[in-house]
Every structure is written in C-alpha cells, then in structure tokens.
Amino acid sequence: MILKPRLEDLKIIGFYLGKIILGLALIMVIPILIALCFRETNPALDFFISMEISVLLGLLLVKICQTDKDLNWMQGMIVVSLSWVVAMILGAIPLYLSGHWKSFLDACFDAMSGFATTGLTLVQDLDHLSYTHNLWRHLIMFLGGQGIVVIALSFFVRGFSGAFKMYVGEARDEKIMPNVINTSRFIWLVSIVYLILGTLALGITGILNGMKPLNSFFHGACVFMAAFDTGGFSPQSQNILYYHSFAYEVITVILMVLGALNFKLHYHLWMGNRKELIKNIETRTLFITILVTFSIVAVGLAQTGIYPAATMLFRKGFYQLISGHTGTGFQTIYAQQLGTDWNQLALVGVILAMALGGAVCSTTGAIKMLRIGIIFKAFKEDLKRIIMPERAIVIEKFHHIKEVFLEDKLVRSALMITLAYIILYGLGALIGMFYGYPFIGALFESTSAAANVGLSCGITNSAMPAALKVTYILQMWAGRLEFMSVFTILGFLFASLKGK
C-alpha cells in the first residue's frame, strides 16, 4: 500500500528548503558588492530585488514550516531536488531583469545550465552584459559545481544527521572526511585554493596577451569558475576563442582536468599520496577513454581535411574533446562549425566523450569513470569465468583509494545509472528529432544537456521550440542529480495523488 505524504513531511521539507533559499539569498550579496564596485546601478537593483524575493520566500517557508525534526531519506532527497528547481527560478530573476534574455524561460534555462554546470546558453548580446550579471552567471556555476546543498551544509547547517541524506541526494556518495559537513568544507577548501591559483594564472596570461589588467583578472576569475567547475560559460560570446591564445587554452585544459578528478583523489594528492593518481581506476579509465575517443575524433577530422597540419588538428580536436569529456563545454570553434566543418565520425567521438564524463564526486556530470571502470571489470570477470576451468574461483578487484572487491551490487548499481543516462540521452535526441533536427545534431545536443557538458552544434538558441528548452532543462536537472532525487520526487508526487 502506498502511503500518502503527511502534513508533517511537507513541513519538514518546507523548513529545510527555506533554509537553503535563505543561503542562496545571502550569496546574492556578492554580485551586489561587485555592482557597487563597478558602479553598475541597474544590475545592483536586479540583484537587490532578487535577494528580497528570495529572503521573503525563504523566511515564509522557515516560519510557516518551523520544525526541529530531522530529515528522513525521502524528505532529504525531495529537499535536494526542489532546491535545484527553486534555485533555478530565483537565480533566473536577476538574469531576466537585465533584459539580455528574451523570456523568463530563457533566463531559467541559463540559470539551470549554470547551476548544473552545463554551459548551454540562450543569452542575447553577451558582449554588452554587465560585469555584475556576468559574475553571477559564473558564480552559479561555482556554487552548482560544489553543490547547492554542499554550500548550505558547509555554512548554514550545523551538525544534523539529515545532512548526509541531502549530500547523497546531490549525487555525492563519497565521504572524504569522517563526517559530511567536514567533507563539504574540504570541497570548498580545494575549490578556493584552486580559485586563487587559477585566477592568478589566467589573469597574468590575459595581461601578457594584451588585455587590460582589470578585465584580465575578471575574466580570469570567471573562466576559472567555468573551467574548474566544468561549466563552460564564458564572459564573451566567442567563448575561449575570444582570447586567441594557446597559453590560455593550455591553462583551461589543466583546470578542466583538475575539475574532472574526484575530490577524494584531490585529498590524497594533497596528502602526498601521488601514487593514487596512477593506481586509481577512475584516472586509468579516464586516460584510456580520452585516448579512444580522441582517436575517433582525429580520424574524423583527418577525413574532412579541414586542419591540414597535425598541430592544428590536435589543438582544435583535443581541446573540444577534453572540453566534452570533462563536461565543461568550452569551445575554440564556433558552434555552427561542428555541424558544417566536422564530419559525423568526429561528432560521434565527442558525443561518446560527453556521454562518459569525469570522475564521481567531482564537478562533472554524465555516466562517470568509476562506473565505466566497474562495468569493464565485470566484463573482464565474466570473460575469465568462461575461459577458466569451472572449478576455478574468479575474483576481480579494482583500486579506488583502497582495494575494492568487485561485488554484484556494485556492478548492478553502475549498470542501472549507465542505463538511466543512456535512456536520458536517447529521449532528448528523440524530442530533438521530433522538432526536425537531424539525428546526430539532436543526439549531440541532448547528450550535451543531460551530461551537463555545454558543447553545442548550434541547436541551442533562443529561437528553438519552448518544449525543447524545457526538455533540456529537465535533462540538465536529472543529469546533475543522477536520478535518485528526481525519482524520489516523482514517487512523492505519485504517492500524493494515489496514496491512502
């Protein structure tokens, strides 16, 4: 028998949702300060209004749903999935007020794209967007990459056991430290340290490239947030092509790869355990999949003959490939070029890379390396079983921080999530095809949205059908949360309607 949710459930969900909204409102102080620094009055008002609406909503929820009870699993998952939807709506308000988005749906699309670290965008006239709004676009990537709930856990929530439930709901099932709040704080420590180093590196490179110092460091900070959080937004409409700089491309590749590594691996590297980088199943799988997918892209590009020199082919092919594989979405070519200059083989290589993604407990989306590694290990185990004598006992192990025995439940879980992602990629492609886009283009864009990548072959623009925009928003949301929280909210809605 399905039980109908009680009023108590709604109160607990509302209370914690309200707290997260208040956290989001507090973060809007940052763009307001930036607006004051750059003397951008109307942008400051946009964020002031958005902050007021957020405080109002958060306060009402906290006061009406006042409770001292802790979250259970179902409630934790629902808080997480609703937090992302509410963050999208509240985060879209300042964007819409700027007048650079044609509709509120377009602003919501970009807000979800930012929070989910995707990077697909519907912004108009980006080259004249204020510093304030530009910072917000990148800041929401930084926040979304770490996880909206992780922020709340790090700064606004003090030691309650429901924390772990929300942490898991945000697609992070690995604890780096013994408790989840310290884990969240460690994730922030890593990110802030890299933020400082990355901004410095990009800022200095920008100055050497001829940019004005203020602009250079502003761009440095924005591009860092988009690179390390594998987001893909950029302050200018040409994305990374704007800089016309090989050094800039090299630095962003390093940052994208760092962002695609497991935070747990970062912890071990910081502790001096460098061997882990070589032994870890995720880094090994990442290395192999990069080799395989880049080979496909290289053969495809060689067939087209667009890049006659090997260095050109490597620079363009490898950059888009790494950008896709790490789920970033930076481009050094125009979106339309993917459709006109690249052939289908090269596009398939990038689609595969996008579909696979980076490491678990990183800022990337998609199936992820640990799952791919586990599935291959399971294949290997089954092959061994066939080849070896019947009485032989076959045991397969893999190294992920420690030696782990390959158990059936691990394989099942990896296969389930992989299957869910494949269905999600396919569904988006079907809807794209329904609206008349060619198969490869529709699959490319759908995979990019669902895997939170952000590479585009030109389908994503403000003129595309509203239903397709909604499809991509849902894909970004489900892909970022890795389904569990989304399934829970669907179950919750079903129980509300059919439960007794």
Binding site: T41, H128, H244, M312, Q337
Partner: protein
Amino acid sequence: MKKKFKLILIILFLVFSATRIAFSQSLSSGELIRNAKEYDGKLIVYSGEVIGDVMLRGDFAWVNINDGENALGAWMSAALAKEIKITGNYKSRGDRLEIMGVFHRACFEHGGDLDIHVRSLLKVTNGRMVKENLNFDKVSLSLILLGVLFLIWILTLFKHK
C-alpha cells in the same frame, strides 16, 4: 603616352571603384561561418562593432568584431589597431569598423582559428559611452518588497511577544 595615361587612369578608377564596391558588400559573420569553405583564403569585407579588448601582440593585434550575430577575430597590424578608440562593453558601444582582409576557415598561422587577416580598415562610426539611466520601476519594486519584508519582520516580533 596619352593612351598609357588614360589606361592608368582607368585602372586607378577600377581599383578605387572595386574597393568601394567591396566595402559596401559586407558579409555577415553567419554567412562566413556557414560557408567557411567557400570563402576560405578569399578577400572579404566584414563590418561590425569592436568588442572587449584590443589585444596587442608585438607588431600585431587581435581585435574581436561583432556584427550582431557573432563576433569574429580580426588579426591586424598594431598601427591599424591604433585607429580603434572605444571598444564595446556594458558601459560603451565600440567603434564600428568595416574591414577588408583574407578570411581563414582554419588559420595555419593561428592554430586552426577561424579568423580574418586584415589588410585595410575603415572606421564607419565612432564608439560612444552609454549613460546608465536609473530604472525607476526597479527602484519602486525593490522599495515595495523591502516594505513587505519589514512588515513580516514586525509581525514576527509580535508573534514572539
């Protein structure tokens, strides 16, 4: 001698006219990107607003020019780039240029970038600073919301008492 002089005059006239025709037949960025193969290596005319930074690289400079559809990278001599006084951003509209140069679908010199190597430049209009007018609707809305928040705060205080 007279014939030669006439011929020179005709050639000069044709060259001048051709240049004028080229400057008036500017291609859009969308057209160039979509049909990059067709225009590759050809002398084209492109016009738009200078956006972002003029990035000096030794004797040359990178200038990004936006025609309203996309921005394209233009590689030009530093001397030509000196003509640019204002670039476009939130607080300004950049100089509008009409450039003539060789279009590259995948530039060999610049690692495969789609770019234009500029030969000549014409400033169509000067850029200008944009005065930011305070939006009073936004001011009113923020004050109303502030009032509502204040009211809720007062109500909360009463509830506590």
